[in-house]
């Protein structure tokens, strides 16, 4: 087939430069920000200056446009975001995100696994039962915030970054407890299954509901359990695992408390609604199918007795743990501005509370 000579001539030419438009470059739109590094390096708080630090009360677009960038017509929408800042915000989101990035650790190399030595069967099995439960719990703890990521607007990107850091933390917790279960000759034991309380967290229809249930209630309880973990630890590896996990968990609790405080300050009409979520969650956390299987409870008693078989001693320490969990939960709600929770707390928790300080 003959090719037109004109086409051949055109193909032989060097490609020409397209006309340069430069319509995207408008000097009047560039605010000329020069962010300065601080003691903690170049953090989000340091770049959140000028127009870049102005967080809109309402996110009005459904595109991926970064806060502070210049809108362009014809851009495709990607999601329906939670529009109101007061529904998702916490003033410490940037601080906690940066801290999470700084304080990451590796379950592969930062845990002195060589210190795990053979233990009496009953102690090893009890620890593995606890690890089985925690592996499941941490899976859900990653899923729950993960479900909300797609609903955080780029205008409120700080919250999205925090949630991503939490998902990473929970992934590491899942893997470190799984590793502990498999490292010393026992393995994973009885699965607890998604208990009603945990299922309730996953089913949250509102971000604040999810955060109050997961960050303040559930993770607050788990944080106390992790701190107790150093007491039940049999070696340096377990001490380190529980200490590092408690640190991570404390960041999540810190976000939750500050989010709840922000909501109550900016949308006080939501107080009763939040009480309702907590009414239900407290009831489910005390449900017979919750708190894990009886296997978990018995494993805790065994480890808290120091493996001596003195289950009364284990029960005494477990009661001290429950008391701390309930009191710290109540104190965090007070910090968030929900001190009136004391009067309507589920009696299963309320009976564990110390009298108010004033």
């Amino acid at each position: 087939m003959a090719i037109d000579q004109a086409v051949i001539d055109e193909l032989r030419k060097e490609p020409g430069m397209p006309d340069i438009d430069l319509s995207w470059l408008r000097e009047e739109d560039a605010p000329g920000i020069v962010a300065k590094m601080g003691k903690r390096g170049l953090t989000l708080d340091q770049i959140n200056t000028g127009v870049y630090g102005e967080v809109p009360e309402t996110a009005t677009h459904g595109t991926t446009r970064s806060r502070g960038s210049i809108p362009r017509a014809g851009v495709l929408r990607t999601a329906y975001f939670v529009p109101e800042k007061s529904d998702i915000w916490a003033d410490n989101a940037t601080l906690i995100y940066e801290e999470a990035a700084q304080r990451q650790w590796s379950s592969a190399t930062d845990i002195p696994w060589e210190t795990v030595q053979p233990l009496p069967d009953i102690v090893e099995e009890a620890i593995c039962q606890i690890c089985t439960f925690l592996t499941e719990v941490e899976f859900i703890a990653g899923d729950a915030p993960g479900q909300w990521l797609k609903q955080i607007s780029p205008d409120h990107y700080e919250v999205a970054l925090y949630l991503i850091s939490q998902v990473m933390d929970e992934a590491r917790h899942l893997d470190v407890f799984r590793k502990r279960a498999l490292v010393n000759g026992c393995g994973l034991l009885e699965a607890a299954g998604a208990t009603r309380g945990l299922r309730n967290v996953l089913d949250s229809k509102d971000f604040t509901e999810m955060s109050a249930l997961m960050h303040v209630l559930a993770e607050g309880f788990v944080q106390t359990m992790f701190r107790t973990g150093e007491f039940i630890a049999q070696n340096e590896a377990e001490k380190m695992i529980f200490r590092l996990c408690a640190q991570d968990e404390s960041r999540h609790v810190g976000f939750g408390v500050m989010h709840l405080r922000y909501v109550l300050e900016h949308a006080p009409e939501r107080r009763e609604e939040i009480h309702h979520y907590l009414d239900r969650a407290e009831q489910l956390f005390g449900h017979p199918t919750d708190g894990g299987s009886s296997g978990l409870q018995e494993a805790l008693l065994i480890t808290m007795s120091g493996g001596t078989g003195d289950l009364d001693k284990g029960a005494e320490i477990a009661m001290a743990l429950n008391k701390k969990q309930a009191n710290e939960y109540m104190h965090r709600l007070e910090v968030a501005g929900l001190g009136d929770r004391r009067e309507r707390m589920n009696p299963a928790f309320g009976m564990l509370l110390d009298p108010p300080k004033n």
Partner: protein, 144 residues
């Protein structure tokens, strides 16, 4: 040899942990920790990657810290001697977290649970701070 508790003792620990990058490796820590031993009180400030300052304060000033660690002189001595004898790896009964858990009134104290949570949030930093005392000789003000 530094006497515990004293500004000199805490300064010695501060110099140790700031001097070899060990705090930096753990990540940022922003907290004001109080230490109360009998009638003496101290404030240790952590900022970004460093232990930024140590000073003696009044008991009343403990309320300005994020949290303070309070125990008898004997309990402090037991913990620090264990840290020294174990080469900076205290027994599980004598880690900061376990002492806090087992003490009926707690070891870390604060009127504000959210500020107190910084004790747990930076737990590894504070544990490393006290573990560093294994590297100095400590004289106890009131021998147990």
């Amino acid at each position: 040899m530094a006497k515990f508790p004293s500004v000199e003792w805490f300064e010695a620990i501060k110099d140790l942990v700031n001097g070899d990058d060990r705090l930096r490796k753990l990540g940022t820590c922003d907290a004001i920790m109080g230490v109360k031993v009998e009638d003496k009180a101290f404030e240790i400030t952590f900022e970004a990657f460093d232990c930024a300052g140590v000073r003696e304060i009044s008991e009343a000033d403990l309320g300005n810290t994020d949290f303070y660690l309070e125990a008898s002189a004997e309990a402090w001595q037991e913990m620090l001697e264990n840290i020294s004898q174990s080469g900076g790896k205290p027994d599980r009964q004598l880690t900061l977290n376990t002492i806090d858990f087992l003490a009926p009134e707690g070891f870390a104290k604060s009127d504000d649970q959210s500020r107190k949570d910084s004790f747990y949030r930076y737990g590894q930093t504070f544990q490393m701070f006290f573990n560093a005392s294994a590297e100095i000789k400590t004289e106890f003000a009131v021998p147990a």
